[in-house]
């Protein structure tokens, strides 16, 4: 029973990691751009959730408005700053986004203070669900269901809509897509906003479980990197399976060896690199 509990926890956590990494991967796939501020936007999602919940007294409103706000901020950053540096090598992408992450982190501390906050589990999802003699928190079940829904919607968006077609075509050759008459700048800005918005959504959803603090960005970024190193950058399936694997490892290890749970995430990565240097689904 304890293991079932931890497996479910791991699934929920893994889906959160999937959302973060999918955002990172979509941006990298189309824009060939590495967003080191991804973790900071995740943190911002959590803080906006806290503020909006305080303001409106309703978690659902903050779930509906917070992530789009994060996406809007990302869009603004893309239009004003990031699109100027696409042509530069990756090193400069990293430096600029590290700069953005620092600015976001310090601004967060200025606005919300250096001490972490906790967010109450939303009304209606506070209790536990009882199945025979097994009980499980309702919010965590909701989390698994909702993130699966988002994952499916994302798959539909990428695989079955015109926008998704353009994103995938652009990942193969952005130049060709531009030559065929698509406004590639707009497509890039929207994709960047979408990817970062996913990080914001993940931040919002995980806030009631894990709380928020201003220094959570780098930690989340590290985990997202582990997921894409395991799953392969640019691979949607890789992000899903990598995210679930990391989530399960972390939550199962937290019963077996609590102090080492975070450590084992990185151990998993090292093992994958040794056995399959290009990740489970990566191409050389």
């Amino acid at each position: 029973m304890l293991y079932l509990f931890q497996v479910l926890n791991g699934l929920g956590l893994g889906m959160i990691y999937f959302l973060i990494s999918a955002g990172l991967t979509i941006i990298f796939g189309l824009l060939n751009f590495v967003n080191f501020a991804h973790g900071a936007f995740f943190m911002l999602g959590g803080y906006l959730c806290w503020s909006l919940t305080e303001l409106t007294g309703n978690f659902w409103i903050s779930l509906l408005t917070g992530p789009p706000l994060v996406a809007f901020l990302a869009w603004a950053a893309e239009v004003t700053l990031i699109r100027r540096i696409y042509r530069l090598p990756h090193t400069f992408h990293i430096l600029v986004t590290v700069g953005i992450a620092l600015i976001l982190q310090e601004t967060t501390i200025m606005i919300w203070g250096p001490i972490g906050k906790s967010i109450p589990v939303p009304d209606g999802l506070q209790g536990v669900v009882k199945l025979w003699n097994f009980t499980y928190p309702t919010y965590r079940l909701f989390l698994i269901a909702f993130t699966s829904l988002i994952g499916f919607a994302l798959w539909y968006l990428l695989e079955r809509t015109r926008f998704g077609g353009l994103v995938r075509a652009g990942s193969e050759s952005a130049e060709m897509v531009a030559l065929l008459g698509t406004n590639i700048h707009r497509l890039f800005a929207r994709t960047f906003a979408l990817g970062v918005g996913l990080a914001g959504l993940a931040g919002t959803l995980s806030a009631p479980i894990r709380g928020i603090h201003p220094f959570m960005g780098p930690e989340v970024l590290g985990i997202a990197f582990v997921v894409v190193v395991i799953g392969g950058m640019g691979s949607f399936t890789g992000a899903l399976l990598g995210g679930l694997l990391v989530g399960l490892v972390q939550s199962l290890m937290s019963t077996l060896w609590p102090e080492g749970a975070s450590l084992m995430i990185y151990g998993t990565m090292a093992a994958v690199i040794l056995l399959r240097p290009y990740g489970l689904f990566g191409r050389a």
Binding site: H90, T91, L95, V98, P218, E219, F225, V229, A270, I273
Partner: protein, 362 residues
């Protein structure tokens, strides 16, 4: 910045114009030539120009770590977000050798150097299995690994509280005490000597066939590979050298503070080292000193009055990428080209002549 200004003036004097230049040019190629005498002069002036010799010591310690990062980024094109692994393990391991084994100063520093080289070779060996962006992500992930190891081993590292009461033993060789380092000035002199030796050593490394190969790997890895160089091993070796230097600076830092905090091994320390390197200017050794100096001085001025000063470094990173890709030293160089007629040490190292900073080959 006063110290840098003076040093620049001092450096200009012999090589500026006239007959002095020939003699100077002959000195240029060797590790003791070029900017080395100027750096030596600067090291003498620094404690007088700065508010305290402790601050000067801190600058040199971070300048050592920055030089090590620069060796990877500026010359090898390898952006490492794992430098704090080596900085932190140097601090912990040297402190523990002194505290648990009662070792003296030099054995403790030696332990740090060896541990830094070994751990960096290990991290390097795993990370260079991938190139480009994956490589950078893996160095970052390994930094998190090291952080969690240090956090978990709190019996040894003190965990969140850090390792307290790190001693600063006197400089002794074979049981003979050579110098007491307990005063801030004495410790500065010791650090300055180490920094100068490292500066010379790095210049020597860059001028060596190893350095040229490293630069070749940065410029075009596929071609270097085709020419028969085992580029992976070169990268791992560069990592080991860089790790040894970084670890040494971590050990010196712990002795300066008498304390080895957990922050030493945190990702933010890696970030700080990268930021100092980039702000100073990648691919230029003087830039590293400039970057570390700017960082320490600005943080010292602002940390008291405005704890959120880090937001400025975020802005500085963005501005440097947009407008000043050579960093501060690159800016100094272009000013000299415009107004001073020539750039001192232009022939110094490959990348000074190469212009824009190094970029990893994707």
């Amino acid at each position: 910045m006063d110290a840098n200004g003076q040093a620049r003036a001092a450096r200009h004097a012999p090589g500026g114009s006239g007959q002095g230049r020939d003699l100077f040019a002959s000195l240029r190629s060797g590790p003791f030539g070029g900017p080395t005498p100027a750096v030596a002069v600067l090291l003498v002036l620094m404690p007088f120009a700065l508010p305290s010799s402790t601050m000067a010591t801190e600058i040199l310690i971070f300048a050592t770590a920055t030089l090590a990062c620069n060796l990877l980024l500026g010359y090898g094109g390898l952006l490492s977000f794992g430098q704090a692994i080596f900085f932190g393990s140097g601090a912990y391991l040297s402190s523990l050798t002194m505290m648990r084994l009662g070792a003296g100063l030099l054995p403790a520093l030696l332990v740090a150097v060896v541990a830094g080289a070994v751990s960096a070779a290990l991290v390097g060996a795993l990370s260079v299995r991938r190139t480009g962006i994956y490589f950078v992500m893996m160095t970052l992930a390994f930094n998190q690994t090291a952080y969690f190891i240090a956090y978990t081993l709190s019996d040894w590292t003190g965990g969140d509280n850090g390792l307290l009461d790190v001693p600063r033993p006197p400089l002794a060789l074979f049981g003979v005490t050579l110098a007491d380092l307990s005063s801030a000035t004495a410790y500065y002199v010791f650090t300055a000597v180490i920094f100068l030796l490292i500066f010379i050593a790095v210049r020597r490394v860059i001028a060596s066939p190893f350095g040229s190969t490293l630069i070749a790997v940065r410029e075009n890895e596929a071609r270097a590979l085709a020419l028969g160089y085992d580029t992976r091993n070169f990268k791992i070796a560069a990592f080991a050298v860089s790790g040894a230097m970084t670890s040494l600076s971590g050990a010196l830092y712990a002795m300066l503070l008498n304390f080895a905090p957990l922050e030493n091994i945190q990702l933010s320390m890696s970030e700080n080292i990268v930021i100092m390197t980039v702000i100073g200017g990648t691919g230029s050794l003087l830039g590293s000193l400039l970057g570390a100096g700017a960082w320490v001085i600005v943080s010292d001025m602002l940390a008291e009055i405005w704890p959120r000063w880090l937001i400025l470094t975020g802005g500085a990173l963005i501005l440097i990428v947009l407008f000043l890709r050579g960093g501060l030293w690159g800016g100094v160089e272009s000013l000299m080209r415009r107004f001073g007629g020539g750039v001192p040490y232009a022939a110094d190292g490959a990348s000074d002549a190469a212009g824009p900073p190094a970029q990893p080959v994707e």
